[in-house]
């Protein structure tokens, strides 16, 4: 399936590179994510961002 738009036509047909990447996707993690509400997903992301920010800060402080 293709769709014309302002810039490019983008196919949704299977792409061998993307298919190769899909082998590494953690489906069990995604199934857990899909059980959560949209609000919970965004709150989880905010928490994850805070953790990542703190780890970056600690890394900068320790390793410069």
């Amino acid at each position: 399936m293709t769709r014309a738009n302002t810039f490019v036509e983008v196919s949704l047909a299977p792409d061998p590179v993307i298919e190769a990447y899909k082998k590494d996707v953690d489906r069990t993690l995604l199934r857990e994510r899909l059980k959560r509400s949209v609000e919970e997903r965004l709150r989880d992301l905010t928490r994850l961002q805070a953790v990542a920010e703190e780890l970056r800060r600690a890394g900068r402080e320790t390793f410069g």
Binding site: N5, T6, F7, V10, D15, V17, V25, L34, T46
Partner: protein
Amino acid sequence: MIDFETAFGVLSRAGVEFIVVGGTAATIHGSARLTRDLDIVYRRTPENLRRLIAALRPHHPYLRGAQPGLPFRWDEDTLKRGLNFTLTTSLGDIDLLGEVAGGGAYDALLPDCATVKVFGIECLCPDLDTLIRIKRAAGRPKDLEAVAELETLREENDR
């Protein structure tokens, strides 16, 4: 880090017409990937530019990665002269996109969006196929991984 609840509230209360795209839209669809900013496609009508300016002005928007002290003016003329703006704000990093490859501008994207109610606020988010098109069109290496995850989510939804 971005406070999504506050950012959505600020934009919504000001009546800004916007569509959530990028990693945040992927999160809405169930992605487990970490994103650091909020990407939105904004409608480029004069009224909406004024709303967007008024909404973000109290949150000190500035060009992300630019040296401090540049004569960056957060006003309608600046938005009219540009299209996509990567900003730091006191709400967190926000990317304002006038249009996206694979999706086009606000009005072109609109038919492929659904209204998502989150934190009591109604936001527009592209459907999964449209989000995949946008990510495929972006074509950066990191997008390939993101597309693989989104396509897996589509398969999981279809199970």
